[in-house]
């Protein structure tokens, strides 16, 4: 920014820390907030503070929630015997939008990545394993991303879960619905080939 205003610089810096926001966008957002009526800016900052203070991790599935346990964990119509494991809350949200899944979730908040110092302890995998003790779960669905770290995490979990004699499945990664093969990249196709199913 051109003028010497430390408070504005701090605001730009704060926007820049958001995912997918570069320097230009951060400056644009900051200018927008500063040009809008004061009430709007206050409402914005209140929304941030309030959401952040009310939302925490569900003590059962670690998803983000205002109530504890979360709405999904405490929904009697959901099948508590099926747990779907996702990397981030966004993964659970995506599956919920699909509207078909009737089980519950477990959110890892990351993937195994020793190079970045993230091992089984950092992912609190013991929390997940505790949930599986006692025979209340029939199936675990692994829905980590199709990256090398996502695969590592899924393989690791499937080995840990094998001890409990629970069925473990991995979601298929493949060609998007409505998309022709020619639009899928080689990596996706190779993966879809590997994960093919018998008809």
């Amino acid at each position: 920014m051109l003028w010497n205003a430390p408070s504005v610089e701090r605001l730009v810096e704060a926007f820049r820390r958001l995912p997918g926001i570069g320097k230009r966008s951060a400056e644009r957002l900051a200018l927008h907030v500063l040009s809008a009526p004061a009430e709007e800016a206050e409402a914005f900052s209140r929304a941030v503070v309030e959401a952040r203070s009310r939302v925490s991790q569900c003590s059962v599935c670690l998803n983000l929630t205002e109530e504890n346990p979360c709405a999904i964990c405490s929904d009697a119509r959901r099948d508590q015997r099926i747990i779907c494991i996702v990397e981030h809350p966004s993964g659970a949200m995506a599956i919920e939008r699909g509207g078909m899944y009737r089980g519950v979730y477990h959110v890892l908040h990351g993937v195994l990545n020793p190079l970045e110092g993230i091992g089984p302890e950092e992912l609190r995998i013991d929390r997940l394993l505790k949930r599986l003790e006692g025979g209340a779960v029939d199936e675990v669905i692994l829905a980590t991303n199709a990256t090398s770290e996502g695969e590592t995490t899924s393989l690791y979990l499937s080995r840990q879960i094998a001890k409990f004699g629970i069925a473990v499945t991995r979601i298929a990664h493949g060609v998007p619905m409505g998309g022709g093969l020619e639009y899928a990249d080689e990596a996706t196709l190779a993966h879809a080939m590997q994960g093919r199913t018998r008809l």
Binding site: G119, L155, Q160, E186
Partner: protein, 357 residues
């Protein structure tokens, strides 16, 4: 495959330059340090996103400039194609026919080139890492599945190496990394084996053509031999890997054995034999690409003719010039009489500029 137009801006010592390569032999001649190698390097970069001289891409930008650009027009599989590489403040952007590409696999193999430079004698003289890089670069251009497996293998290997350096590595996590290395490693080993078998036959012919007489052969030397099981080997060596803090065995330690008349070229070859062997590998690559795609790549020869006598040079040109488009750099305007018998276009390179003569 044929390049029809080259242009670049702020690449190495080339401020801004364009020319239209012709079919057959294109001779780029000029004194030292005028920019001949840089032109070939720009073509290599635009088609592979690699340079043979550096892994630091900011070296490629002309000193004092903020970025560089290379654009190529070519005919590939009978169709016109345009490739463009843009580098600006550490960000690179590639376009194919004007459309931005995000993955290296979307660029590789669009315009196939084979590059030979004096440094390539390291393929014969140097350590195994040079030969592995050769295998990886060539196979990545030939097979998207190989490139994918290679990228995954390298990632998992780094994770495993990090993990074996732990004080108490998680054995289940190591089991998982082993399983992933075995899965991707199997693809690398299978493709390398098939590639080297084919390459060896072509390399033998190419060597005989250029050098006469001697028998040149290329063997795949896998770190995990065919009678060993990779998974089993990883398990048996785990304690040692942990003590040494790295994964000691696997396709990341593969090598090639190059022999001339059954003697290792690395230790027994003369300078000339070593250079010929390196050239033969590259010429074999030209034939292998033709064999797989029914189309020759563009051959880029940087200062490759100096040591060839006229007879051998003639045989080389007889083999190449009718079918393969070549860009050849030399310091002399008429380096070799054998060249004149083939379609030949001359370009004079002076202080970063080029002129057809």
């Amino acid at each position: 495959m044929q390049l029809t137009q080259f242009s670049c801006r702020h690449f190495r010592c080339l401020p801004g330059l364009a020319f239209a390569p012709e079919p057959g032999i294109n001779l780029l001649y000029g004194d030292n340090a005028q920019g001949k190698t840089s032109i070939l390097e720009a073509i290599l970069y635009c088609t592979t996103s690699r340079s043979h001289r550096t892994t630091t891409e900011s070296d490629l930008r002309q000193q004092g400039e903020e970025g560089f650009r290379v654009a190529l027009h070519a005919i590939a599989q009978g169709q016109p194609i345009q490739l463009e590489a843009n580098w600006w403040h550490n960000q690179k952007r590639f376009k194919v026919n004007g459309i931005p590409q995000t993955r290296i696999s979307d660029i590789l193999g669009r315009i196939r080139v084979v590059f030979f430079a004096p440094e390539d004698v390291d393929l014969v003289k140097g350590s195994g890492s040079h030969r592995r890089r050769f295998l990886d670069m060539e196979l990545a251009q030939l097979s998207p599945a190989y490139l994918l497996a290679l990228q995954q293998y390298k990632k998992v290997l780094r994770q495993r190496n990090e993990t074996v350096r732990d004080k108490r590595p998680d054995p289940i996590l190591l089991d998982v990394f082993d399983e992933q290395l075995v899965q991707y490693g199997a693809i690398l080993m299978a493709e390398r084996r098939a590639f080297v078998t084919q390459l060896s036959a072509f390399a033998q012919n190419a060597y005989a053509l250029v050098a006469g007489g001697e028998l040149f052969s290329v063997h795949y030397l896998p770190s995990i031999t065919p009678d060993q099981d990779f998974a089993e080997t990883l398990k048996q060596n785990r304690e040692r890997d942990i003590r040494r803090g790295q994964t000691l065995l696997g396709p990341h330690r593969d090598d090639l054995e190059l022999t001339v008349d059954a003697k290792p070229a690395r230790s027994f070859g003369s300078q000339g034999q070593q250079k010929t062997a390196a050239l033969a590998l590259k010429l074999a690559e030209v034939e292998l690409i033709h064999h797989r795609y029914q189309e020759y790549p563009v051959l880029l020869l940087d200062e490759a003719l100096a040591e060839l006598d006229p007879h051998r040079a003639r045989r080389l040109f007889d083999m190449l010039a009718t079918q393969v488009q070549c860009l050849i750099t030399t310091t002399e305007r008429a380096p070799n009489p054998a060249m004149e018998e083939h379609p030949l276009t001359r370009f004079h390179v002076v202080r970063g500029h080029i002129e057809k003569t």
